[in-house]
Each structure stands twice: as structure tokens, then as C-alpha cells.
């Protein structure tokens, strides 16, 4: 077994430094899908989450509980739901999205929305209430107040985006079900690792694992730098 791991690592290095087209294809699909889904989710979730954080209204507690529940929604169940919706007999079957990158984006989008909503809400709520009152009493309207609070809590909001992206790129259940792990089209890091491991192709699996971890590290490091520069 130890032998296989060493061989795997060597194979991983070879694949990476020879710019293996299949490896790069997987990287491209993974990034395209996860970045798009997280970005689209942020477009929807950021306004919703910050609005919930800003306002007091009846049913806010229940809504918060609901969001928190969905933040930990099992990806594989999400995959199942999207599969049923997009399958030929499902309500959106006619769109023909099943087993495509778009289907994976949809699944990851619905997984990321509650995460970004929840963190944006918490970020806005954690702003010093004295600051909120100062901004209001200086004459800001609701939109201006909202923008100031977003700016003041941007670190937490970026962190929420990071968590959502991290979950999306490392998630396997949903993309496996709705994407189908089709070579060159819907094969991502995670689905590929599952496949290669099953086939005993540890080299490719380890290479993908190393790259996945390295990418996660680089992205996080870069964004952390941006965050600390902003303070």
C-alpha cells in the first residue's frame, strides 16, 4: 500500500508538470462550475441575507432556523431533488439539463444560497448597533445604511463566500448524481477521485487530491490577504 502511495505521488507530479490534458480538463470543469454557482448564489443570497439581518419582522426567528437548517442540507439529497426535477419525467425535464455542467451549477447554487444568506445575515447583525444608529442619525436612507453595513462587515461576507465556494468545489454527492461524471464534460475533482480510486488508478486520484487541496489553500490565502488589506 505504501508503495502505491509513493507511486501515486510520483504519478501526480508527472501529470501536473506535463500538463496532462485530462487533468486540466477536470480542473477547468470544477472551477467553472463551482465559481459560477457560488457567484450566482452570492448575487441572490447577499441582498436577501443582508436584508434579513437589517430588518426586524415577524417570523424572523423561524426564517433564521430554516436558513440554518438549509446551511447543513445534505448535498446528496439536493442532488436527488435536482435530479428528479431535471429528469425527463420531471417538471423541468424539457430543458434537457440533466448530466450537464449547468445541472451541477444548479445543484451547487441551491447548496450555496443558504450558506451565503446565513453568513451575510449574521455579518450584518454583528455590526456594532451604535454604528448603525450613527449612520441612521446622520441621515442615511435604508439603501445607504445597507451599503455601509455591507462595507463594515465585508470580511465576514467574504468568509461566507469562501465557505460556500469551499463546499461547492469539494462536494461530491450532488454533482455525481446530476452531472453523471462524464469525461471532459461533467467530471470534476471529486467525482474523478471517486472513479479513479474505484479503478485502482491511485496516481490520478492522488494528483487530483493534491491539486484540490493546493487550490483551496491558494484561494484561501489570496482572499485572506485581500481581507487583511481591507482592514
Amino acid at each position: 500500500m505504501a508503495n502505491e502511495i509513493i507511486e501515486g505521488i510520483l504519478e501526480a507530479l508527472r501529470l501536473m508538470f506535463t500538463f496532462d490534458p485530462e487533468l486540466w480538463g477536470i480542473i477547468e470543469v470544477s472551477f467553472r462550475v463551482s465559481l459560477t454557482s457560488t457567484f450566482l448564489a452570492a448575487l441572490l443570497a447577499l441582498p436577501i441575507g443582508s436584508y434579513i439581518g437589517l430588518r426586524e419582522f415577524r417570523g424572523k426567528k423561524t426564517l433564521t432556523n430554516l436558513i440554518n437548517t438549509f446551511m447543513g442540507f445534505p448535498p446528496v439529497v439536493m442532488g436527488l431533488i435536482i435530479f428528479l426535477l431535471l429528469s425527463n419525467t420531471g417538471p423541468f425535464g424539457s430543458l434537457g439539463l440533466l448530466y450537464s455542467a449547468s445541472a451541477m451549477i444548479v445543484a451547487q447554487f441551491f447548496l450555496a444560497v443558504p450558506i451565503i444568506t446565513g453568513t451575510a445575515k449574521a455579518a450584518i447583525e454583528s455590526v456594532d448597533p451604535m454604528l448603525k444608529e450613527t449612520i441612521l442619525s446622520l441621515g442615511a436612507n435604508e439603501r445607504q445604511l445597507w451599503w455601509e453595513l455591507i462595507k463594515d462587515s465585508k470580511k465576514s461576507i467574504i468568509a461566507g463566500f469562501l465557505v460556500a465556494f469551499g463546499q461547492a468545489i469539494s462536494e461530491v454527492g450532488a454533482v455525481m448524481i446530476v452531472g453523471g461524471n462524464i469525461r471532459w464534460v461533467t467530471r470534476t475533482f471529486t467525482t474523478s477521485i471517486v472513479l479513479q480510486t474505484r479503478m485502482g488508478e491511485f496516481g490520478m486520484a492522488i494528483a487530483l487530491g493534491i491539486i484540490l487541496i493546493s487550490i483551496a489553500f491558494i484561494v484561501n490565502y489570496g482572499l485572506t490577504r485581500i481581507q487583511s488589506r481591507g482592514s
Partner: protein, 363 residues
């Protein structure tokens, strides 16, 4: 003309177990345009809550707060913003945004729709005025406490609103910033279009700025009146104890070139004081500094002696308050019960009161 009219204001806070705490009950007052209205009371009496309600940072449990014919406690969110843009709310603790000093000070003007070229000069002027030149590009959150206070003062005063709500603003300020704040307040007071509503627990501050004072005790207003009325004729024991029962008279001060002493003309009386302020002043003499004698003393070190008649005597155990009217003014004095008996003081008795020039406080 009334700027704000507060009627039947009640505020209760509800705890988780549905029980409530009364913070304010049956508050009624109105504030006139151009006046400085001071709410005075001990900590926890509800002063801040009143200002927060007037600033729409909190809603009353029940109230009618009329501003320009509208009840501000029941207006739409849009109108709330419109109303808030007519006022500025200066708090005890300065809070600044995470941006430069310049941007912090300019914020109130910016949200009101002013363009950079319109406000750049105004903001720069106030930066010079508050002594923050050279720091305008620094992040306001990196400043020292005192500098941050100046940013907070500047950003609230640059707006030049119709109403200023000042919540115990001098409580945490260093002496330099207190002076700065006083300069701003005095400047605003000269503008008869601007109204100040401030809260304080310091009677001296109230005397200094107030045109009218409301005394707040345990969520209720016990008395409203001009400083003279509040300090010389407190309606109840709380007010009397809280304000320190002072004698306060407005007058005109001039320095006597021969003696170097200050001569303050208060209607038909001339009070001598040792301080050097000239012009319009307020003269304060504490009741315990005033002595009563039956015959005018000769060769005394007391520079102030006035003939008067006892108008009222209030017994308070072993001391009593004696109110003596001298010409147009009434003086309050505190003497012991023993002195009262020895001097055979009664309502209507003719007496002389005296006090030292050094016991006269000029505000």
C-alpha cells in the same frame, strides 16, 4: 413657534417573560424654535430614551410627537429618513465609520445628495476648525479617543440641521473637546433658526446653555421652566436637591477700573464679583454662602450687602431655607434653625443679606 410638541409619551420595555419595565410615563413638553431645551436628571432617569425617541432610534410605546403637523412616531420609513435629515444626534460615545476622517465628516452631506465639489470646502473648513488638519486622510478608527471625539463632533455639526439632539455629550470629553463643543453650541444658540435639545446630569451645564429646563426623575418630568425658576423655585424636594438650589440671575458685567472687581448689574442691584468675565453673564450664588443680619454690618469683608424682606421660610429640620426679596430679585439662603430663632426671623421681617465677592460664580 413650536418645533416639536411631545404629548403623552410613554415607553415600556418588555422582557422575555412578558413583564414590562416603565422607562417613561406621561411626558409632555414642547420645544420652541431657536431655543436650547435641556433635559436634566440623574443617570437612569430616562433622558437618553427621550432623545432616542425624538431621533427615531426607538419607538415610543405610546405618544404623539408632532413635528411640522405630523406625528413622527407614526410616519413611513421614507418620511422617517426625511425627518432624520432635519436633525443631528450627538451621542456620548463617538462612533466613526471605517474610513478616512474626511469621508467620515463628509458622510452626512453626501447622503443628503451633495456632490464632492459642493462639500469639499465645507468639510475642509470644519477640519480646520476642529484642529484635525493633517489627519484628514487617516482612518478615523486609528485615531486617539480625543481625536475621534472631534471627528464625531465635526460630522454631526457640519450638517447644520434644524434640530440638534445632544445626549450627555460632554460626559466623556476631555477639557479641550469640551471647549470645542461649547464653542459649537454657543454658535448654534446665536442662530435663531436652530433648536437644541440636550440632556445632562450636570446642573452647571444646564444653567450655562439652557433657555428652558425640564427636570426628569424616574421617567417623569417633575418641572419645566427657565433656569431661574428651576433653581430658585424648585417644585419638589427632588428638584431642589438635584439642582443644588442655586441663586441664578442674568446680568451685565463690567470691570471697575479702580478696584479691578467685576460689577454685575442685575436690574436694580449691583453685585460685586472677583471674576473677570464681562458682558452678558449669569450670576450664581449658593444659598449656604449667603448670610442674614438684622443690622447693616460696618467694616466687613463681604462686598455684597443688600437690604431686603423675608418672603418665605421653609423649615427642613435643623436648617431652613429663607427667601429674601431684595429689590427686583429673590435670594435663597440656607441658615440653621438656631440662627433663625436668635435673629427672630419671620415672614415679613426686614433684614440684610450679605455674601463675599469670591462666593459669586459667573457663568
Amino acid at each position: 413657534m413650536k418645533v416639536l410638541n411631545v404629548k403623552d409619551l410613554h415607553k415600556e420595555y418588555y422582557k422575555d417573560d412578558k413583564t414590562s419595565i416603565k422607562v417613561l410615563s406621561n411626558i409632555n413638553f414642547s420645544v420652541k424654535k431657536g431655543e436650547c431645551f435641556v433635559i436634566i436628571g440623574p443617570n437612569g432617569s430616562g433622558k437618553t430614551t427621550i432623545l432616542r425617541i425624538l431621533g427615531l432610534l426607538e419607538l415610543p410605546t405610546r405618544a404623539k410627537i408632532i413635528y411640522k403637523g405630523k406625528d413622527i412616531s407614526k410616519i413611513s420609513r421614507k418620511d422617517q429618513v426625511k425627518y432624520r435629515r432635519n436633525l443631528s444626534f450627538v451621542k456620548q460615545k463617538p462612533v466613526v465609520r471605517n474610513t478616512s476622517v474626511f469621508n467620515n465628516i463628509a458622510y452626512g452631506l453626501k447622503v443628503r445628495g451633495m456632490k464632492f465639489r459642493e462639500y469639499v470646502e465645507i468639510v475642509n473648513n470644519i477640519i480646520d476648525f476642529v484642529g484635525l488638519r493633517g489627519m484628514e486622510n487617516k482612518n478615523a478608527r486609528d485615531l486617539s479617543g480625543g481625536e475621534m471625539q472631534r471627528v464625531a463632533i465635526a460630522m454631526n455639526f457640519v450638517i447644520e440641521p434644524e434640530i440638534y439632539l445632544l445626549d450627555e455629550v460632554s460626559a466623556n470629553l476631555d477639557p479641550m473637546n469640551i471647549k470645542l463643543l461649547e464653542e459649537f453650541i454657543m454658535k448654534i444658540k446665536q442662530d435663531k433658526e436652530k433648536t437644541i435639545i440636550m440632556s445632562t446630569h450636570d446642573p452647571i451645564e444646564a444653567i450655562k446653555f439652557a433657555d428652558r429646563i425640564a427636570v426628569l426623575n424616574d421617567g417623569q418630568i417633575t418641572q419645566i421652566g427657565n433656569p431661574n425658576e428651576i433653581f430658585t423655585a424648585p417644585k419638589d424636594e427632588f428638584t431642589a436637591l438635584f439642582v443644588g438650589y442655586e441663586n441664578i440671575f442674568p446680568g451685565i458685567a463690567t470691570i471697575d477700573k479702580k478696584t479691578g472687581l467685576n460689577q454685575i448689574k442685575i436690574n436694580d442691584l449691583i453685585v460685586t464679583a472677583s471674576s473677570q468675565e464681562e458682558g452678558e453673564v449669569k450670576v450664581c450664588v449658593r444659598p449656604e454662602s449667603i448670610g442674614i443680619v438684622k443690622n447693616p454690618p460696618k467694616n466687613t469683608s463681604y462686598r455684597n450687602t443688600f437690604k431686603g424682606q423675608i418672603e418665605n421660610i421653609r423649615d427642613l429640620g435643623n436648617i431652613c431655607h429663607v427667601i429674601v426679596s431684595c429689590g427686583s430679585e429673590k435670594f435663597l439662603t440656607t441658615i440653621t434653625e438656631l440662627s433663625k430663632k436668635k435673629l427672630e426671623l419671620k415672614i415679613g421681617s426686614h433684614v440684610f443679606i450679605n455674601f463675599k465677592a469670591t462666593d459669586v460664580k459667573i457663568l
